[in-house]
């Protein structure tokens, strides 16, 4: 009797278990479903709408069609400067960051003494709050008097003008960004420690030298880490904000050479209250980010090596 009812109930229980899973799944996910709708999906759509309007955030937006986009590309020199600076920053700083982080991780992985100490030290700058970092850099990079000028003064020179002249400000910021690669170093180091030793042993048996081991074992195995680094740092570079904003007070001084895309967008939104215009900038940034990441993803099959097929 008891077994009979149990088996009779089984199909119904199974069916209700599926429903129960759905209900539970939705309940547990409900904070995020709400969050996605309110903090992500709605604002994304709203900003698409604002981008076709003139809107100061107080009065109702008035529809202006493509006017914002046309103005950005045809009349706004500051916008073009911001695009140039941001692309410059991304194109110069990302490859350098990859090379430095990879190189330092390689050296750290060479089973040397004090690996943990070095790793900690390299990681330190990424812990310092951006405000503190920006302030100490302003101080260090004070032209002619700052700490950075000391080695130049030793040779009787006054050194470059660093952040105070247009031709030096951009490269200086690239240089500063190289200070914050601790996370990437840790990622590469973790990747290197995952390289199976038998691959190196096999290469040794074949008489491979350091360079060919590096090219044929280390680099391929680490390409997924480079890929991850590339994607995150492209997004990071396009959003570069706090440090240049603090260092220049958001002015883009000198001669708009430190006016980055995010800074100009922020200024349009909250200083000039051109929220429609800023939304157009935000959507252009979004589209650009999408295209670039898509290209990187597409290119991945050409150069990213995944051990074990498609893990």
């Amino acid at each position: 009797m008891a077994t009979a009812t149990a088996t009779a109930n089984l199909p119904r229980r199974k069916l209700s278990q599926g429903t129960r899973h759905t209900i539970n799944g939705l309940l547990f996910a409900s904070p995020w479903i709400f969050g996605l709708l309110v903090f992500w999906i709605y604002p994304t759509l709203a900003s698409a709408f604002y981008s076709f309007t003139k809107y100061n955030g107080v009065r109702n937006p008035t529809f202006t069609g493509l006017a914002n986009y046309i103005e950005l590309f045809t009349k706004d020199e500051e916008f073009l400067a911001a695009v140039y600076n941001t692309v410059y920053f991304a194109v110069v700083s990302i490859p350098l960051a990859i090379i430095f982080a990879f190189g330092l991780a390689m050296m750290l992985n060479a089973k040397i003494r004090g690996q943990v100490v070095y790793r900690t030290i390299y990681f330190l700058p990424t812990l310092v709050p951006e405000v503190a970092l920006a302030l100490v850099w302003i101080f260090i990079f004070t032209p002619h008097n700052g700490l950075i000028a000391a080695p130049f003064r030793a040779f009787g020179s006054r050194g470059p003008c660093w952040l105070t002249c247009a031709e030096w400000a951009r490269p200086t910021l690239v240089l500063l960004a190289l200070w914050i690669i601790g996370q990437q170093i840790i990622l590469y180091l973790a990747g290197l420690q995952d390289v199976p030793q038998d691959l190196y042993d096999a290469a040794d048996v074949d008489g491979a030298n350091f360079l060919s081991k590096f090219r044929n074992v280390t680099v391929p195995i680490l390409t997924p880490v480079v890929f991850f680094h590339l994607i995150t740092s492209v997004i990071g570079a396009l959003n570069f904000f706090a440090i240049p904003y603090i260092m220049t007070g958001g002015t883009g001084f000198p001669a708009n050479s430190t006016l980055f895309y995010s800074i100009y967008l922020y200024k349009n939104a909250f200083h000039y209250l051109e929220m429609g215009y800023a939304s157009a900038m935000a959507w252009l940034l979004f589209m650009f980010t999408l295209v670039v990441t898509l290209i990187i993803f597409r290119s991945a099959r050409l150069w990213v090596f995944y051990a074990g097929g498609e893990d």
Binding site: W32, I112, L285
Partner: protein
Amino acid sequence: MQGAKTEMAVESQQVQADFARDHARRVMARRLRGFGRSILIHASLIPAAFVFTLPFLWMLSTSLKPDVQFYAYPPVVIPSPFQWSNYPDAVKFITFFLYLRNTLTIAVLATIGVLISSSLVAYSLARIPWRGRNFLFILTIATLMLPFQVTMIPLFIVFKNLGWVNSWLPLIVPHWFGGALYIFLLRQFFMTIPMELSEAARIDGANELKIYYSIILPLSKPALATVAIFEFIARWRDYIGPLIYLSDQEQYTLSLGIYEYQTQYGAEWGLLMAASVLITLPIILLFFFLQKTFVQGIALTGIKG
């Protein structure tokens, strides 16, 4: 025959001895090469370490300097005398404790919120088989690609209409609805816990909340710790959030307060650097005590790429 045999034995002995000597020489050479190599490596790692610590060391050194030594040439590395008064002055003039209270309130409340919400959502995605969870997961990853500027303006308008601008609410409340990166991180971790544990508990009649609370969470302490530290530090360092939403100086966080002090009073480097040390030190201490959690967390976010 005999002679040949002894000859062979002698020869093999000879070969063995040669081999041993050769081997010893090779080991020696390898050791020497290893030694040379490690010296070369240290010779490049040490200058790099110097460069990486420089900002923090200079911050520390300047925080103890009297005004006249800021731009001294040759640079003063160890100030004399130590101007300890920079610290109490910084705390007093930058109203450090007020900003500290504000920052801690925001950071702690946001961290609690993000822990609870993200772990619930990750539980749903990793441990409950339901239709649509893959779609939700893909949406979650997609938000990681979305530049924050896209949502920045409409969110500001929403919070303005709610009357929340110039309060801490916009900096805390969104975190109570989950964070994409943390959901991803916790989901990956939860998936490594054997499903049999959940199934056995279900057969025993435990409901999902009970399984979440008494099985999954206790097994996930390292991952939860990572999320808590990352979020706390992110809120502690956050600059643009407070910049957008806080306009009343009473509400400022440390980052914003120190920046505002600099824009108002300019280059009082002794005080500014003392304040900078004070906001940096807690994070560095956290890092030293929880280094393993940090490193694992960073590696976790980088898995799968």
